[in-house]
Amino acid sequence: MSRIKVKIKEQDLTKIREICQAHNNEPGELINVLQQTQEHFGYLPAEIQEAVAQELGLPVAKVYGVVTFYSFFTMIPQGRYPISICTGTACYVRGADNVLQEFKRQLGIAVGETSEDGKFSLNCLRCVGACGLAPVVLVGDKTYGRVAPDGVKDILAEYQDKE
């Protein structure tokens, strides 16, 4: 029998310690800690969750439970241009699903995945509070309203030459 070893980069562990300490290593602050950790790393891979669990004195199963419960958290690295398609009620009835299918077709990835070149990731969210513009698509911080399936190509083209 031997120990189970989890490898992590020193600067990553230092950053996690810094975030946890800012919350007094309080187990009840788990969600806030995870939010800031994801903000820094872009996603929450297993070793990062292990380190958060250790710092807050929580079972890692609990951390994993929270990460998988909230759709905001992700264990997959996001693309440099994360695409979010609103599938809330208003957007849905105005054809968000067709828009989503078109993004999937053009990018060749499923919801929750990231394109091979790391440029785009695809996710759904529920209502961004811009129902008047339904269906709504977000790319990073930029909002696109009244998106139709045939407009998907143009949106992606905007990022063609960007790194």
């Binding site: 029998m1 189970i4 989890v6 969750q49 079972p59 994993y64 998988t68 419960f69």
Partner: protein, 592 residues
């Protein structure tokens, strides 16, 4: 405390403020059906996520139905538990749960003992509307050395999570994902064997369905018995005899020792021995070790580790290896009775009957699921041949007895074989919380003082059911402080006190399960009735009282074993065969 008055099904009830509808109804004899709800009153664990909604009732003036398990009563409340609306809702809820549940009841391990199946029977569910369109969640099945997880059968009651996190503080299991993807699992859905699971089996003990069950070794056992060239030796743990009767309709607390022995003999075991014999042997080794540590401590040795912790419980051992690896030197190095038995059976006894260890199969009948794992630990084998080949649970033995078409209660009373079937009352009480330390005290007291306890053998101050107990026993002028914990959450509290230097104990007994082995994960299911555990405890003390010899060091076969074979307690041979050491298996975060 302030009381509130309410009406349930037109019956007046008065209960303390804060009581739930479910409990208030129970008080007037109304048994509201529940599924996810679990209340283990004697150990202070209540699971009421209000998730399944089977306990829905109608509350006058409230628009939606209320979950009775999680809704507190208020003054003037008017509750109806069997209106058409309630009956329809309850039925729909169960139909929905069943629509996402495998329909392999005929061959499911939990068949006949499943709370979901019982509920379907109680509500007379004969079809599941819309089954052909229903989404079904699927997961891989996970086999660990002790526990099988079939998550297809998980209904998200989260009882296992309550036991694993709140009672045991092990933290191996947690709910993850949402909707159809939701289930309870270790982090990253890793297999249980890589998680901090201790195999205590308390998740299995409370699982209402077939999602969590034991690894079944009964077929291996039948193969061994069927092989004419194999000598099959049984050892039965003390807690089994106090619970096996329940599987055959007996009242909890019915002792079936003699009937169990004859059933095992008729099943085809060549020798039916008693783990209690090995418990007496454990006391010889552990008691000697305790006295040795105490003597060195009193002589001013600063390096001696005190308090000494018992080491009989494999779930507890795995807990310290996972969660307190810095303290792995404080448990006694004595192996557990199961392993001492195996070790002696395959040496001393094998020599006596002129058999090679390869031709002998040692089977343990245990109230425990962690014993399955313990028997597979590498250090407990010689050149790949394990000291204990299989460990089967009380439940598995009951299945075997039924399969063989025996009625346990019609069996004649028979005695264990000799030499390894001779045991004392001290060996018997190993099955309950407080028992190991009481057995050790009986022997250590007499060894230390050279006196005789005579009639003062019942150390009542060590007995009971509270999670943590403390007592001081006077060893002829030397006060010995003893601590007892059952449940790993309680053990954790004692360990943290030791770590911070606040502990004044000389010896501590720890058992992982509620009530000790009598509440083990392999016992007949208590279905949330913890009074059953107390009845088993009573039976254990009764068996002790009825034994002609009640101190381990007075067991004549143990005396012979030392004389003929082992030599001194804690001597060279004893060290090789009866002691062990512990490992650090904690998760470690390393810089890459």
């Amino acid at each position: 405390m302030e009381n509130v008055k309410l009406t349930i099904d037109n019956k007046q009830v008065e209960v303390p403020k804060g009581t739930t509808i479910y409990k208030a109804a129970k008080q007037v004899g109304i048994d509201i059906p529940v599924l996810c709800y679990m209340n283990l009153e004697d150990i202070g664990i209540e699971n009421k996520p209000g998730g399944c909604r089977v306990c829905s009732v109608e509350v006058e003036g409230r628009k939606n139905l209320a979950p009775a398990c999680a809704t507190e009563v208020f003054d003037g409340m008017d509750v109806k538990t069997h209106t058409m609306r309630v009956i329809n809702a309850r039925r729909t809820v169960v139909e929905f749960i069943l629509s996402d549940h495998p329909k392999d009841c005929l061959t499911c391990k939990k068949s006949g003992n499943c709370e979901l199946q019982d509920l379907a029977v109680r509500l007379g569910i004969r079809e599941i509307p819309g089954q052909e369109y229903a989404e079904m969640s699927t997961y891989k099945t996970d086999y660990s050395p002790s526990i099988v997880r079939e998550l297809d059968k998980c209904i998200m009651c989260r009882r296992c999570e309550s036991m694993c996190n709140d009672f045991q503080t092990v933290g191996a299991l947690n709910a993850f994902n949402r909707g159809f993807d939701a289930a309870v699992a270790p982090a990253f859905e890793m297999d249980l064997q890589y998680s901090p699971c201790t195999y205590c089996g308390q998740c299995v003990a409370v699982c209402p369905t077939g999602a969590l069950t034991e690894v079944d070794h009964s077929r291996d056992l039948i193969d061994a018995i069927s092989d004419p060239n194999t000598t099959v030796v049984a050892q039965t743990a003390p807690a089994v005899r106090a619970a096996l009767g329940e599987e055959f309709g007996q009242e909890p607390g019915t002792l079936v020792t003699g009937k169990m022995v004859s059933a095992l003999r008729r099943l085809g075991f060549d020798y039916v021995f008693d783990t209690d014999f090995a418990a007496d042997l454990t006391i010889m080794e552990e008691g000697t070790e305790l006295l040795d540590r105490l003597k060195r401590h009193l002589d001013g040795d600063q390096d001696v580790k005190l308090p000494m912790l018992t080491s009989c419980c494999p779930a507890w051992v795995r807990f310290i290896e996972h969660h307190f690896p810095d303290m792995k030197d404080i448990p006694s190095s004595a192996r557990s009775p199961q392993q001492m038995f195996g070790s002696i059976a395959k040496t001393y006894f094998a020599d006596k009957i002129e058999t090679k260890r390869e031709n002998m199969v040692v089977v343990s009948i245990m109230p425990c699921l962690a014993k399955k794992y313990e028997s597979q630990r590498e250090e407990f084998s010689v050149e790949g041949n394990p000291d204990v080949d299989f460990s089967v649970s009380t439940r598995e033995l009951a299945h075997l007895i039924r399969e063989a078409n025996f009625n346990l209660m019609d069996m004649p009373e028979e005695d264990f074989d000799r030499p390894m079937g001779e045991s004392t009352g001290a060996g018997v009480i190993f099955g309950t919380t407080g028992g190991v330390i009481e057995a050790a005290t009986r022997t250590a007291y007499e060894m230390h003082t050279g006196g005789n306890l005579d009639g003062n053998i019942d150390f009542e101050q060590l007995r009971g059911f509270e999670g943590i107990r403390k007592a001081t026993v006077d060893f002829n002028g030397t006060p010995i402080n003893i601590g007892i914990a059952h449940g790993l959450g309680n053990a954790r509290k004692l360990l943290e006190a030791i770590r911070s230097g606040e502990s004044e104990f000389h010896a501590i007994e720890i058992m992982a399960c509620p009530g000790g082995c009598i509440g083990g994960g392999g016992q007949p299911l208590h279905h949330n009735d913890t009074t059953i555990l107390k009845a088993r405890q009573k039976a254990i003390y009764e068996e002790d009282k009825n034994k002609p010899i009640r101190k381990s060091h007075e067991n004549p076969e143990i005396q012979t074993l030392y004389k003929e074979f082992l030599g001194e307690a804690m001597g060279e041979k004893a060290h090789e065969l009866l002691h062990t050491n512990y490992f650090d298996i904690s998760r470690k975060i390393e810089i890459s």
